[in-house]
């Protein structure tokens, strides 16, 4: 009986994991690549890096380019529209929507790759 229950439980867990993987957001990761830490670490901790960096950069002028929001956007903005927020599957929006976490950064910050933004401004 116990063996049967254990098997049942195992099967249940496996199927749950499988569904979760299926439903995981498919993101447009842009150029992608890894420059700070591995993806799983970044999924869990990117907000702490950004929060630390924003205070250091703004209040003390210590601009650590590697963990700056601008640098994140540089690689992760979509190669189609140069943005991390433009679409449902954009790099930032996709996950934040899935996790139901409000994304405040881009009420002030630009979600666009800087080179693209400059090119667009120069056209005007």
């Amino acid at each position: 009986m116990m063996r049967f229950l254990a098997l049942l439980l195992l099967g249940f867990t496996l199927s749950l994991t499988a569904t979760a993987a299926d439903e995981a957001p498919k993101l447009d990761i842009g150029k992608g690549g890894q420059c700070v830490k591995d993806p799983q670490w970044m999924r869990k901790n990117h907000m702490h890096l950004l929060k630390h960096q924003r205070d250091e950069a703004l209040r003390h002028g210590i601009r650590d380019e590697q963990i700056s929001l601008k640098n994140c956007i540089e690689c992760h903005a979509s190669t189609q529209d140069d943005s991390v927020i433009a679409r449902e599957d954009s790099f930032c929006v996709g996950c934040h929507k899935y996790e139901a976490v409000k994304l405040d950064c881009f009420e002030c910050h630009s979600g666009k790759r800087k080179s693209a933004w400059l090119a667009q401004r120069d056209k005007k």
């Binding site: 205070d55 003390h60 601009r63 956007i73 002030c108 800087k114």
Partner: protein, 238 residues
């Protein structure tokens, strides 16, 4: 020397070596974490010297450059942001007319910082007065406190900001002295754009800088010097 002594010496040698090996990566990490810049230094005092004799009435180039650099609309309605504006003044008795740009004066003792309830308004070590919009609650006390009327409140949602200049609804903002340019060795957009080089930018604390030399040799004054705020922006010929 006994056998034991040699062993002890050997042990000490290896353990010192091991400690050095263990320390070295730690030191490496520290220097990497510091990044390429040391941040704003209190040895520096950024400032500007504005020569009003060179500032032409009707010329708006500094304002246009600021608007373009920082993504301001350029409108001048009561609810629009203006970081720098041209002022035309006239001495009634002599009829002498003057034109000058007015913006945040980057005071040494900024009243906007004194009144801020959330310490969003702050002065950086190098004398630049900024608003930390992560902390700003939009109460606008600083706008009331500023004797130069230098600050603006963002009333409407904004889109497509300059990636170097984040701005957003519900926060107060003002001239940043183009801090994003200064931190990469540049100078403010208005100073760069002035066709008559009327806006001289530099480090007031560096005796060899152009601005320090000029402040030392020609008469210049601070606007509302009576308030003893010691602004970093000085004017010549007013």
């Amino acid at each position: 020397m006994s056998e034991i002594d040699i062993q002890r010496r050997q042990f000490l040698k290896t353990s010192v070596g091991a400690a050095a090996v263990a320390l070295a990566p730690g030191m490496m990490l520290y220097s990497v974490a510091q990044g390429s810049t040391e941040g704003a230094s209190s040895k520096v005092r950024w400032g500007m010297l504005i020569d009003t004799n060179q500032c032409k009435p009707g010329c708006n180039d500094c304002v246009t450059a600021c608007n373009r650099e920082n993504g301001l609309s350029g409108e001048t309605k009561a609810t629009d942001s203006q970081w720098i504006r041209k002022i035309e003044i006239k001495d009634i008795s002599s009829g002498r007319e003057l034109s000058l740009p007015m913006m945040c004066q980057h005071c040494e003792h900024p009243p906007c910082v004194d009144v801020c309830p959330t310490t969003a308004s702050f002065k950086r070590a190098d004398g630049i007065v900024l608003v930390d919009k992560h902390r700003c609650i939009g109460c606008r006390y600083c706008m009331m406190a500023c004797p130069y009327k230098a600050r603006s409140f963002v009333h409407e949602p904004l889109h497509d900001q300059n990636p170097d200049v984040p701005r957003g609804k519900g926060t107060v903002e003002s001239c940043t002295l183009c801090v994003h340019r200064i931190d990469v060795g540049g100078k403010p957009a208005c100073s760069e754009a002035c066709p008559n080089q009327a806006i001289l930018f530099g480090d007031l604390n560096d005796a060899n800088s152009d601005i320090a030399k000029k402040v030392h040799s020609v008469a210049s004054s601070q606007v509302r010097a009576d308030l003893r705020l010691n602004p970093g922006v000085r004017y010549q010929g007013i």
